[in-house]
Amino acid sequence: MTSDDAFWTKEEARLERQTDEGAQQLRPTTREMVIAGGGMWPQDDLGDTMIINMGPQHPSTHGVLRLMMELDGEDVLQIKPVIGYLHTGMEKTGEELTYVQGTTNVTRMDYASNFANELVYSMAVERLLDVEVPERAVWIRMMMCELSRMASHLLFQATNGMDMGAVSMLLYGWREREEVLRIFEYVTGLRMNCNYIRPGGVAADLPDGWQDRILDVCDTVVAGVADYDEMLSTNPIWLERTVGLGVITTEECLALGITGPILRSTGFAWDLRKAQPQLPYDEVEFDTIYTTNGDVYDRYRIRLYEILESAKIVRQCVEKMPDGDYRVQDKKLTPPPRARIDESMEALIHHFKLFTEGFKVPSGETYVAVESPRGEIGCYMVSDGSSKPVRMHIRGPSFYNLQSIGPMGSDSLVADAVAIVSSIDPILGEVDR
């Protein structure tokens, strides 16, 4: 025993020099020692709390979101989001660009569902101009917006799974999302930031044979969603991690201006596609997904099943796609086809005028709102009769949804804070603009 005592004395002295917690756990403890000493850790009777900074470079903050958390041990007492790290003055840039160039700017705001941004911008310009868009253009817009909703929710499934530790979900979600992005590349030429929906219609008609490719992608995604559902929705580890966590009520959502899947997860079935359709959503069959618990699990499930609803809408769009023009044939508003420029002097002049000074919009102001994958995205636009807007403001749903971190995150654990932020699905490009 003496040799043992000597060893432990020496060992204690060595451990004394080490201050990290890992070394302290090496000390021999017995049950009696733990009880006599009031537990392994000194009891925190002082009630002092600690402010911990998470982000802006934390991988689970979906970009550059910084959270200031007040902690009592592992318990989060309150969370305050700090934003602005991605602020690039896109609204100021929007005032410098003409209406023709504007969509290239707004498409970079919510980069995970860019079509919704382009749509509100274009619809605001069209409303100020009093332009009626051809039916085919409207249906193309609706189909692309729903494909974009699928891509955005697949991105959420991937990153949400990764944040919770289900890393295989990241790869599955990315795999299916990539298929949708290939459609975007096929139709618009670009995988992201497509700049496809423009004032007056869309940039180009759908390429030949688009029906089969889009239906194939729908099948792939629907099969993928069935897999995720099987893998996660009844998985005990997943349920343990998500059910009853980050609960928010309908009243809190309404007071804080929170829209989209977070609002629907509280039992409030509000969807602008049903309530105030700006595109012909009343001519297609789909359901509003809503749940009643308002927790992380419900928000995951809503986004999962909304992918299926979007696939339903896309299939009906393929079926019902009307013939006609893909944009307004107004030479002052939409550029001439490339082939016409070689033949017609007037076409060349129109092209030049449109891309140098743009078209002029009568003075006025308007607000247009549609349902993006994250909630109500709106565009408030003020024109003074020139070819550039006086004010172009995008109401980004993530900007408002981030305010829900306060009620959701209080009384959770640090590890749960990651799950809660992930379930809000913020896109920081849209938050900071």
Binding site: I83, G84, H87, G89, E91, K92, T93, E96, R127, L128, L129, D130, L254, A255, L256, G257, I258, T259, F268, W270, A275, Q276, K331, K332, P336, R340, S344, E346, A347, H350, K353, F359, K360, V361, P362, S363, G364, E365, T366, Y367, A369, E376, G378, Y380, V382, D384, G385, S386, V390, R391, H393, R395, F399, Y400, L402, Q403, D432, R433
Partner: protein, 191 residues
């Protein structure tokens, strides 16, 4: 050929003389106009807009929330009209440099309304709507940050998008874009 008929004079679109104040076609707007003296209703592209005095905007918001079932404050936007070419003039409203525009949405009644108040540049102060609608917190901070509009009664009126030590309000029209030069690694900070 069709596109040869277009002429240069067609290029100038007619500038509208602004919305004419007619009979109030929106019941909520009518209630606001009846209760608050000096409010003016206009219809802007089919959407109801009410211009109110900035001193009563919190009362208008309270009325919308408690009596008219407007459940959500959608957005608070500021517009700087310093350099406007042709601005929409509303009869009965003295135009000022700034406009604070607040969008409301009623879920039960499925309708929207927009409240606008004029704010002079000399005294850019507006009562905060955050006590009425807590969701106005972030957008009012954004408006303060980018336009320098002070929302009186806001619980935490600090910069939200720009750095805390930033000088100026970048979305004002007299704050030119690219005012701050691009800096490279090792350069002294522009601030």
């Amino acid at each position: 050929m069709a596109d040869d008929t277009a002429r240069e004079e067609d290029h100038e679109p007619a500038v509208s003389g602004g919305p004419a104040p007619g009979p109030v076609s929106d019941e909520v707007a009518a209630a606001i106009v009846a209760r608050f003296d000096g409010s003016v209703f206009v219809e802007s592209h089919g959407q109801p807009v009410v211009y109110v005095d900035r001193s009563v905007i919190a009362d208008v918001a309270l009325m919308l929330r408690d009596e008219e079932q407007f459940t959500m404050l959608i957005d608070t936007v500021v517009v700087d009209h310093l350099l406007d070419g042709s601005r929409v003039r509303v009869d009965g409203i003295a135009a000022e440099r700034f406009e604070v525009v607040v969008n409301f949405l009623s879920h039960p009644r499925n309708r929207r309304i927009r409240i606008v108040c004029e704010v002079p540049a000399a005294d850019p102060t507006v009562p905060s709507l955050t006590p009425v609608y807590p969701g106005a917190n972030f957008p009012e901070r954004e408006s303060y940050d980018l336009f320098g509009i002070v929302f009186a009664g806001h619980p935490d009126l600090t910069r939200i998008l720009m750095p805390d030590d930033w000088h100026g309000h970048p979305l004002r029209k007299d704050d030119a874009a690219a005012r701050v030069p691009v800096t490279f690694k090792g350069d002294p900070s522009p601030r």
